[in-house]
Amino acid sequence: MTTPCLSVKNLNVIYDVGGKKLHAAKDVSLEIAAGETLGLVGESGSGKSTAGLAILRLIEPASGQVRLGDTDVTAANRTELRAMRKRMQMVFQDPYSSLNPSMTIEQLLSEPLIIHADIPKPERQNRVGRMLESVGLHAGYSARYPHEFSGGQRQRIAIARAMMLHPELIVLDEPVSALDVSTQSQIMNLLRKIQEDSGTAFLLVAHDLSVVRLMSPRVAVMYLGEIVETGPSARVYDAPRHPYTAALISAVPFPDPKRHRESERIILGGDLPSPLNPPSGCRFRTRCPFVMDVCAQEAPPRIELDGGGHAACHLHTSGPKLQGDSLLGFMASRKLTTVD
C-alpha cells in the first residue's frame, strides 16, 4: 500500500479544566489517502474539531502520532512545524472571523506566499488573480476588503487562501454550516472541483451527515471523544453498525412531509454526559436504547467490518451478537424505530 497522505495513530488530547483532566479526543486513529476526503462527523462535544486542530498541531496532542506523508508531524520542532504548515492548511467555519478585516484580499492571499515562498511581487499578484478565478471570484476583486463580500464569497476567499501553497491536506472545519442553504451547495461543489483539480486531501469535520456523505467516500463518526464507527459512507448511512450512528442519521429531518408521518425515528434520551466524568465502559451507554449490563463494565470491542471500517459496540459480541451485521434488522425485530 502506498503511504497515505495523513496517518493518525492513537491521538489523545487532554485539556486541563480547573485541575481536572478532560479527555477531549481519545485514541483517535484514521488515515486519508492522497486526494481523498474523509468525513469526521459528530455533534457538539464529540471532539471532532479538537481532533482536527490536534492533527495540525494547532493544539498540542497529549500523545499519539500524526504523519503527513513520510513526515512525523508530532515529532517536529517549531521550525520544522512552521515549514510543514505550507503542506497542511485549515478552513474554518466562520468566514466572518477567519479573515483579517483590515487586509485586502490580495494581502490575505499573498501572505502565505510571502511567508513560505520566495516569489517576486508581480508573480504573487498573478497567482492571487488566478486563484481567485479558480474559486469563482473575479481577479479584479483583489483590492477589496472582506466586509465587501457575502458569507459564501468570504468562504471562497478562505478556501483560496488555504489553497495558495497547494497543500497536501486541508482540514475543513464545518466549512458550510454558517452559510445559507442556497450557498452551501455552491461551496460544496467548489470544494469537490478544487480537489479534482489539485489532488489535495480533505479532512472534513462536520455535524451535518448529508454534507459529509455528499463530500466524502469514507466517514468516521465520533461520540464524546471517541470514534465509534468508520467505513465507506454508503455503507455507514444505509446500514449503520453503531446505535449512535443510527440515531444520528434518523435525527436529520428529511424534506418530505409524508415520510415524516409514515416513519418513526430514534429519539435519544438524556444529554451528552460531562466529558470530565465520562460513563464507564461504553461512553454512549447512558443514551443507548439497547444498553446491556456489559456496556457499563467493559469498553466495547472494535469489530472489523466486511467492506471496510469498524464499529465499537457490544451488540456485535454480546446480547444479540450481531457479528458485524447492520443494526437495522435487529432494531426492526425489537420493534424499535427504524432509521428510514
Binding site: G152, S185, S210, A251, P253, P255, L268
Partner: protein
Amino acid sequence: MAVGQESLLEIRDLTVQYPSAHGWLTVVDNVSVSVGRNDIVCIVGESGSGKSVTTQAAVGLVQSKGGRIKSGSVKFDGQELVGMGNKQLNRIRGNDIGFIFQEPMSSLNPAYTVGEQIAEVVRRHRGASRADAWKRAVEMLDRVHIASAASRAHDYPHQFSGGMRQRVMIAMSIACDPKLLIADEPTTALDVTIQARILELLKEVQKDSGMSVLFITHDLGVVAEIARSVVVMYGAQVVEAAPVDELFASPRHPYTAGLLGAMPQVALAKGVDPISIPGTVAQAHAWPSGCRFNPRCTYRQDGPCTTNPVPLAADDHGLVRCALSASLRSTLSEMVVA
C-alpha cells in the same frame, strides 16, 4: 394557507421599514400570513428574507428597534395589534402569545433560577400567588419532560444543557396557556439529536393544548416535519404559500424548488449533485427590478421577469409569485424527490 374568519392570527399586507444609510429600507413588503386555530404554519426563508421581522412587527417589536410599520394590519383573535399601545400589547405578549427564540441562553436571566423565571411569568400575567406560581413552574418543567422537575426548578440556567434550556424556554412560553406560540429558529443552535427531541416536544404540546404555532426556520427538513402550511419568503416578499404536502410535492416557485434541490438529503436521494442557486441573496437597498429572484433564476426571461413587479397570484395549491409559474410546473416538480 388557511384563510378565513377562523384565523387566529391574520397578518394582512404588512410593510415594515428600517432606517439605513440608504433611507428607509423596506424589509417586509406587503406580507400576508394567516394562522388558523390549532394550526402550525412555517415561514421559511434565508437570512435577510424578512421572515423574523414579519413576526416581530406583528407583535409590535420593531418600533423599539427604530423600525416602523408603514402599512398593513395584524388581527390577533379579533383584535387589531397595529397601533395598539405597549401596555395593552404587553398583556397579550407572554400571555396569549408565547415566544421561543434561537438562543435560549440569551433569553434566560442567568441570575435567577429557572423556577423563579417561569413563576414570574405566571405571577405577572395571571396574578397568581407565589406558591401557586411556583407550583405551576414545576408542573411546566415536568410537562416538557425535565426529570426531577421539583428539584431542577431550583437550578440556574447555566446548570442546564442547550437542549434543556430550550425546554425551559418552552415551559416558560406555554406556562400561561397561550393561544399562539411564535417559535423563531428554536432548534437552529441545537445538535440534530437534540433538535429531534425538541420538535417532538413542540408537536406533542401543540396537539395536547390546541394552541397554534407560527414557526420560523431556514430548514426545509424541519418544515416538512412540523408544518401544516408553509409560507416561503425571499427578498422581503412572500414568493409562495401552500399546504405542506402540496409545497413539497410540487413547488411552484423556482426559489422553493431550488432550495429543495440544494439540500444535500434531496441530492443524495436522487443520486445527483446538489443544485447550486447562483449568486447571493438580494439586499434590501438594491432589489432588482421585476421579480426579486430573477438575477439568480435559471428560468429567467427578459421582459416578464425583469420589467414589472410580479404579483402574488392564486393557483390551485395556494399562492405563487412567478411570472412563468404556469409553464414551469412540470419542470419544477421534477426537481423534488421522486
